[in-house]
């Protein structure tokens, strides 16, 4: 099972001292956080993609390429790549390029983006969100899998004899996850292709996640990719930890109360009960995270949000130390002990290459 972190890349004023980091500071902090993730033994760093303030990560492959150069083991991913407003041709090129530079340590999570005004900045319309996600991704898959593509669709100019370069590393496209909170069409899309499904899981009650993952698993089996419990599922999570749970609550409360998205709304206590947010001791985080399996089944990837709402870099790095030293080793062991042998790991470049080579060997 893979463990990691995902960052929204928000620039938020620290509510405890009124300090707002510059964009430069926040961007460098994201890199520091990614490097720390590898150092403490996490598997994945995923960056968001946003094109409006107060967010900085508009250019994910620039950041991930930089992180790739300074890491050796960390898997680089996105949370999410905007399949609606990015040209699929550019996604195909950018991430194939990143694959080569990162020696295959790349996968992507597709998302639609829910900020209406962003769409027209890129020549699109949020009302076409689902059709854009479906059509653009269909083209993206072909660009990675066919050397020469003739294509015509609704949302971009036609392609004639087009070759996306560079070709994917070893001819193996990056593994793709599809992220959605409550659009059954996206669970269907992930199932149709046998891709992974990622439930953000941090701002909504677990019932949403349970329904969406259930639908994805059922349709994954329907489309013949294997039994429902072999489908590839990832979850988000949101944690804040101190050795003493009261200290965690006291320290995190002002960040929670003023956070973008849910600040000034439900209390920390209500939100902790109704969503997977866990603020407390490392043991509490371990216990809560293990319950995720009860409603989504055995799953392959767990990402935590740890660096938002104006939390200072120093605090975030401390959170990563706790995750790496105390939480993730226990979760790895406990989840592994519970998982039946036939449930696969999430595909990586190495595993997909080994599988292809083995298949070629069999044919020969």
């Amino acid at each position: 099972m893979q463990f990691g972190i995902f960052s929204v890349g928000d620039v938020t004023t620290d509510p405890t001292n009124g300090r707002e980091p510059s964009e430069a500071e926040r961007i460098k902090a994201m890199v520091t956080i990614a490097l720390k993730a590898e150092e403490v033994g996490l598997d994945v760093f995923a960056t968001g993609e946003h094109h409006n303030p107060p967010f900085v990560p508009s250019s994910p492959t620039t950041m991930l390429g930089f992180v790739a150069a300074r890491t050796s083991r960390l898997l680089l991913s996105t949370a999410t790549t905007l399949i609606t407003t990015n040209d699929p041709v550019k996604i195909a090129e950018d991430y194939a390029m990143l694959q080569h530079l990162a020696d295959g340590r790349v996968d992507l999570m597709m998302g639609r983006g829910n900020t209406g005004p962003v769409y027209p900045w890129f020549g699109q319309d949020i009302r076409n969100g689902i059709p854009l996600a479906i059509n653009n991704y269909d083209l993206l898959r072909r660009l990675w899998r066919e050397d020469v593509v003739d294509w015509e669709g609704k949302f971009r100019t036609p392609l004639q004899s087009f070759t996306s370069t560079p070709r994917p590393l070893d001819g193996i496209p990056p593994f793709v996850w599809h992220g959605s909170i409550r659009s059954p069409e996206i669970a269907e899309q992930a199932a149709y292709y046998g891709d992974g499904f990622f439930a953000n899981h941090i701002f909504w009650p677990k019932e949403h996640t349970q329904r969406m993952v259930g639908l994805y698993r059922q349709r994954f089996e329907y489309y013949g990719h294997g039994d429902a419990d072999r489908a590839i599922v990832g979850l988000g999570g949101q944690v804040f930890m101190r050795q003493n749970s009261q200290d965690a609550v006291r320290e995190f409360r002002p960040y929670f109360d003023n956070a973008p998205v849910y600040g000034h709304g439900p209390s920390l206590e209500d939100f902790s009960r109704e969503t997977p947010l866990t603020v407390g001791s490392p043991q509490q985080v371990i216990d809560r995270t293990l319950t995720f399996r009860d409603y989504v089944g055995d799953y392959q990837r767990q990402l935590f949000l740890v660096d938002h709402a104006g939390l200072p870099l120093k605090t975030v790095l401390e959170q990563l130390d706790i995750l790496g030293e105390e939480v993730v080793p226990v979760l790895r062991r406990e989840f592994a002990a519970l998982r039946p042998a036939h449930v696969p790991e999430a595909p990586t470049h190495a595993s997909m290459k080994a599988e292809r080579d083995a298949a070629a060997e069999t044919v020969r």
């Binding site: 059709p131 899309q189 009650p205 349709r219 998205v261 849910y262 000034h264 709304g265 209500d270 939100f271």
Partner: protein, 204 residues
Amino acid sequence: MTTRSLVVVSAGLRVPSSTRLLADQLASATGAELDRRGVPVRTEVVELRDHGHDVVNHLLAGFPSEALKRALDTVAAADGLVVVTPIFNASYSGLFKAFFDVLGDDALVDRPVLVGATGGTARHSLALEHALRPMFSYLRAVVVPTSVFAAPEDWAGGSAQGTLRGRIDRAAGELAEQIARREPTEAADPFRLTTTFDQLLTGD
């Protein structure tokens, strides 16, 4: 015969509340009408005051608390609704509007609704026609022709057999008729897939 669900949404703020009093009278008259037609009915009451904080939290956080979720599900699964609000500033109260704002666009499509209101003077009575009726029409609910407004004089001077009683009975009869003629409601499932992948892909 399937037991029908009549759901009362009351936005009264005080206890006791004249809004709730009107809501209860409308509900019991509707129940009696359905009884007369041999349609079994179960009445549930959603007091919006109990969900005030949760409604605002839903607006801010994007999802309902468990208690509010139960209330929203109850309303969405109703076979008929009695909705009553105090009139504030010539319209429904903010809490009343906010509750229906978080209910979801399609929850009340083709749902029989009886609208009622209370106010400090009878001069507010047309707020039912220019505020409540258009909102429920927008939600594609079926608003029964008679709406019921109760002013202080209806409670004070009028006898139990007075004009308010007559309006309540007429409105209740209309609501009962709409409930009785329909099939029982099946609440919509937002996670249900309504297209095939090929349809999604081809955009048909």
